[in-house]
Amino acid sequence: MLSSVWLTMALATASGQSEGAAHRDIVIRNAIVMTVTHGNITNGSIYIKDGKIGAVGETVNAPAGATVIDAGGKYLTPGIVDSHSHIALDDDVNEATSPITPHMMMKDAFDYQDKAIYRALAGGVTTSLLLHGSANMIGGQAVVIKHKYGASRDDMLFPNAPRSIKFASGENPKRVYGSRDQLPSTRMGNFAVQREALVQAQDYMSEWDNYNERVKRGDKDATPPRHDLKLDALADVLRGKIMVQIHIYRADEMLTEIAMAKEFGYKIRAFHHALEAYKVADQLAANNIAIATFSDWWGYKQEAWDAIPWNATMAMRKGVRVAIKSDSEDYTRRLNQEAAKTMRYGGATEEEALKMITLNPAWIVGVDDRVGSIDVGKDADLVIWDGYPLSSYGVPEKVLIDGDVYFDRSLPSLGTTHYTEGK
C-alpha cells in the first residue's frame, strides 16, 4: 500500500505535476538524521510541510494523513550544494571576446534539459551555482538552480537567490588574451584590466550621482547618462549588491585581490579553486572570505602545482569557511566522496566534512538561510543514502527538493522520460 502511494507520488513529480504536491504533509522516519548544525539524530524523523522542514527530532508531530517514508535506518542529509559548477550551459560558459563582461547573465544560457542536472541530482546535489568561466577577469553573473529535473525552466531557478558575479585571475585570462596578442597577457595586465574597469564604474556612478543630484535640485536641463549594462553591473558590485566570486589559484594573487577589493570598497564572497589558500589562510579568515576548493586535484597547470590535499582542513582550522565544489560535470556526481577525503587529509570531523558540501557552499551562494542544513523552516532538500555518505560506498537512494521526490534509485527513470528502464 505504502509503496503504491509512493510510486504515484513519485510519478506525479516526474511528469512535472507537482503543484498539488506542494501542500502535502510528509513524514520521513527511522533515519539517522545528519543535521549539520546540531548533530546527528539516530532514529530521527522529519516532518515536511509545504515543501519546508516543519519539525525535526526523535519524534515529530504531524497530521494523521501525512505520507510516511520509512528511511529504513539509513542516513539522511541535507541536499548537497555545489558552489562552483558549469553544467547546463552547453558551450556557452565563456564569453571570451573581452576580458570584462559583467553584463553576461548565465541564466540566459541555462539549458534546463541538460541531463547533467539529473546526473548530479542522482549524486545528491540539490542546488548549484552556475558560474561564468574563467577566461575573463570579470565574467558574467551566475544563476542559482535547484536540480528539479523535469520541471520547467523557471521552476528550476532558485527563487530570490542573491546575485553573484565571477571574477578570474592568473593563467586563464592571460592565456586567452595573450594568445591573441591582446591585453592582458601577464598578471600585471590582468589586474590592470580589472582596475581600469572598476575605475570606469566609479566614473559612471559619479555621472549618475551628478545627474540625480541635478534632477533633485530641479535642474530641467539635466540629461541622463547612457544606461550601460556593463557599467551598471560593475556599479552594483561596488554598491555591494552583487557577491564577488573569484577564480584564483596563487596565494600572492589572493592578497592582490584582497587589496583591490579594499581599494574599491567591495567585499569578496569566496575564492574559488584557491589551491594555495593554506598559505594565506589567516588573511582569508580576517577578511571573511570563504573558499570553494577541490579535495585533491593538482598539477593540471602551473598555478595548481602547489596544491595539497590538506588545503581544505588547514584553511578550516584557521577559521576559513570551506566548501568542496566540483567545477566538473563528473565530480559533481560524487561530492560526498570528495568531502570525505577531508576526514583523511587533516582529520575533519564527519560534521565538518559534511558542512563543506552543504552549509558552507550555501553561504557562498548566499542561500544558507534556506538550504544547507536540516533545520526547521528550511527548504526540504534532503537525501536518503544507501550506505554511509562520507565514504566510497554512499550513494543516494532518494533525493527530495522542496519536499518532492526528484530522484529515487528504485525508479531510475524518474525525472526523465529519456532513460530506459532496467537492463
Binding site: D296, G299, K301, P309, R334, K341, L390, H418
Partner: protein, 454 residues
C-alpha cells in the same frame, strides 16, 4: 600458414632482441637488496588469494614475502625488526592498469609532457620506457596511497601510440623501476584517433574509421611481409654458406642482401606472433566489434580496454573470454543511457564471468585508484572482486601473478599498511613497503603542508 620463428636467427646487434619477446628482465626493486628481516605483526591481513587473517603477521626478507599467517604461527627470526601493526589493515601493493606516470608533470605545460606522438597514427616503435621520468614528482604522491605498480601507457590519440611499460613505484632510477619494458601495446579504436578536426579543408588521412582500419591493416600486412623478407634472406644466406662449404670450386651465388630495417614492422612482430599482449580499446558496440575483427584477422592476443558504452553487447564481450580494463567508471553516460550505466559496468561484466581490472587512466590522480573500486561496489560489484581488480587480477593480466598481487610466500614484498578499508576514500595509508623496503612517507605535497604548518 604460420610463418617460421625467425627471431633467433637474427643478429642480436641489429637490435632484434625485441623480436624474441621473451627477454623479460624482472628486477625486483633495487640494486641494494633488503638485508634485514622485517615482521609486521598484529594487523588484519587481506591476502587476496587466501582470505582474511584477522590477527596476522607477515615476514619480509630479501625483497620477498617469506611467511604469512596468524600471529600464533609466525615466529620472528632472531635479529628481525618487528613492527607492531595492531589495528591496521595490511594488503598487497595496488596495481594500476593504465597510467601516464613518468610521462607528464604539469598537464598544461607542454614541455613537461611526453604523452603521445601525433605525427602518425601507427607508432609501435615508440617505447614509453624511453620517456619514463623516474624522478617525477607524481610517483611518490601515488605511492603514498599504496599504489606500488602500474602500467605506463601512451595517450590514446593514435591507433598504435607505442608500447607500454610495467613499473614499480620505487627504485634508484628508471632502470630499476621499469620492471618490464614493452610489456604490451595499446591498439585504440575509439574514434579519437581520427584526424577530422577543423572542417573538411583541414582533414587529413585517416579522417574516418574506415581510414583508421585500412591504415592499421596495411601496417600489419607490411610487418608480415617484412618478416617474410627476413626469413627469405636468412634462408638464402644459410644456403649460400652451405654451398660454400660443400664445394669451393662451384660458381658462387652472390651474397644475399639484408633487407632494410623497418622499426615499425619490427615492433609489431612480437604482437603478430602472439607473444605479447595488445590492449584493445573501444567505447561503443560497433567500434568494439570492428576492433575485435581486426584483432582476430591478425590473430592478436588481446585484453579489452574502456568499453564504457557497450552495455547492449555485454554477452558478446563475455563470449570473447578476455579480461577487461574497465572504465573509468566516472565516464559520463551517453544521451540515451541511464545515469548509472557506466558505474555499474564492472558489476555487469563480473556477473557474466569476465575478469576485470581497474585503471586510473591518469597521472596526477593515480592515488585515487582504490576509490573507483570501492565505488563500483555500490553498484553491485562484490567487495572481494573489487579488491582483486586492483591486485591479483591485474597481476595475472600483466603476467606477473607469480610475483605480485597478493600476500603470498615467495612474492615480492610490496605491502601496504593502512588504518582501514583500502577501498574507502577516508582510509589513510600509514606505511608502504616496496620489495621489502619501507618507502619514506613523504612527497612534495607533504613537504608543502609541513612548511606551511609551522
Amino acid at each position: 600458414m604460420q610463418p617460421p620463428a625467425i627471431s633467433y636467427q637474427l643478429p642480436a646487434k641489429s637490435g632484434f632482441l625485441a623480436l624474441l619477446g621473451l627477454t623479460i628482465v624482472f628486477v625486483m626493486g633495487g640494486a641494494v637488496a633488503q638485508d634485514k628481516t622485517l615482521v609486521l605483526r598484529g594487523g588484519k591481513l587481506l591476502t587476496v588469494t587466501h582470505g582474511v587473517i584477522d590477527n596476522g603477521a607477515i615476514v619480509m626478507y630479501g625483497g620477498k614475502i617469506t611467511a604469512v599467517g596468524d600471529v600464533s604461527e609466525i615466529h620472528a627470526p632472531a635479529g628481525a625488526q618487528v613492527i607492531d601493526v595492531t589495528g591496521m589493515t595490511i594488503y598487497p601493493g595496488l596495481i594500476d592498469s593504465e597510467t601516464q606516470l613518468g610521462l607528464t608533470e604539469i598537464s598544461a605545460e607542454e614541455m613537461t609532457n611526453d604523452l603521445v606522438e601525433l605525427s602518425d597514427e601507427i607508432m609501435p616503435q615508440m617505447h614509453t620506457a624511453e620517456a619514463f621520468h623516474a624522478e617525477s614528482t607524481l610517483i611518490p604522491v601515488a605511492r603514498m596511497n599504496g599504489i606500488t605498480n602500474a602500467v605506463v601507457a601512451p595517450e590514446g590519440e593514435d591507433t598504435l601510440p607505442g608500447q607500454d611499460s610495467f613499473i614499480q613505484l620505487a627504485g634508484a632510477n628508471a632502470t630499476e623501476m621499469l620492471l618490464i619494458r614493452d610489456n604490451a601495446m595499446p591498439l585504440n579504436f575509439t574514434g579519437d584517433q581520427r584526424r577530422n578536426k577543423g572542417g573538411f579543408e583541414k582533414r587529413k588521412f585517416p579522417s574516418t574509421r574506415m581510414g583508421l582500419a585500412a591504415q592499421l591493416r596495411q601496417a600489419f600486412l607490411d610487418a608480415q611481409d617484412y618478416k617474410l623478407k627476413w626469413t627469405d634472406y636468412q634462408r638464402k644466406k644459410a644456403d649460400a654458406a652451405l654451398n660454400k662449404d660443400k664445394d669451393q670450386n662451384k660458381d658462387k651465388k652472390p651474397e644475399p642482401l639484408a633487407p632494410k630495417r623497418d622499426l615499425k614492422s619490427e615492433a609489431l612482430l612480437p604482437y603478430l606472433e602472439g607473444k605479447k599482449m595488445i590492449v584493445l580499446a573501444a567505447e561503443s558496440p560497433s567500434d568494439l566489434q570492428t576492433a575485435v575483427s581486426l584483432a582476430n584477422e591478425f590473430k592478436l592476443k588481446f585484453v579489452l580496454n574502456h568499453i564504457s558504452h557497450t552495455q547492449p553487447v555485454l554477452d558478446y564481450v563475455a563470449s570473447l573470454k578476455v579480461p577487461v580494463i574497465v572504465g573509468p567508471i566516472y565516464e559520463a553516460p551517453k544521451e540515451d543511457e541511464r545515469y548509472d550505466t557506466v558505474y555499474s559496468l564492472p558489476a555487469q561484466l563480473y556477473k557474466r564471468g569476465v575478469k576485470i581490472v581497474f585503471a586510473s587512466y591518469s597521472a596526477h590522480n593515480v592515488r585515487n585508484l582504490p576509490d573507483q573500486a570501492g565505488f563500483a561496489t555500490a553498484f553491485g560489484l562484490p567487495y572481494d572482486e573489487a579488491l582483486k581488480a586492483i591486485t591479483i587480477n591485474a597481476a595475472e593480466i600483466w603476467g606477473v601473478s607469480d610475483q605480485l598481487g597478493s600476500l603470498d610466500v615467495g612474492k615480492t614484498a610490496n605491502v601496504v599498511v593502512a588504518n582501514g578499508d583500502p577501498l574507502d576514500v577516508k582510509t589513510d595509508v600509514k606505511r608502504v613497503f616496496i620489495a621489502g623496503r619501507e618507502v619514506p612517507m613523504t612527497d612534495r605535497q607533504v613537504r608543502l603542508r609541513d612548511e606551511y604548518s609551522k
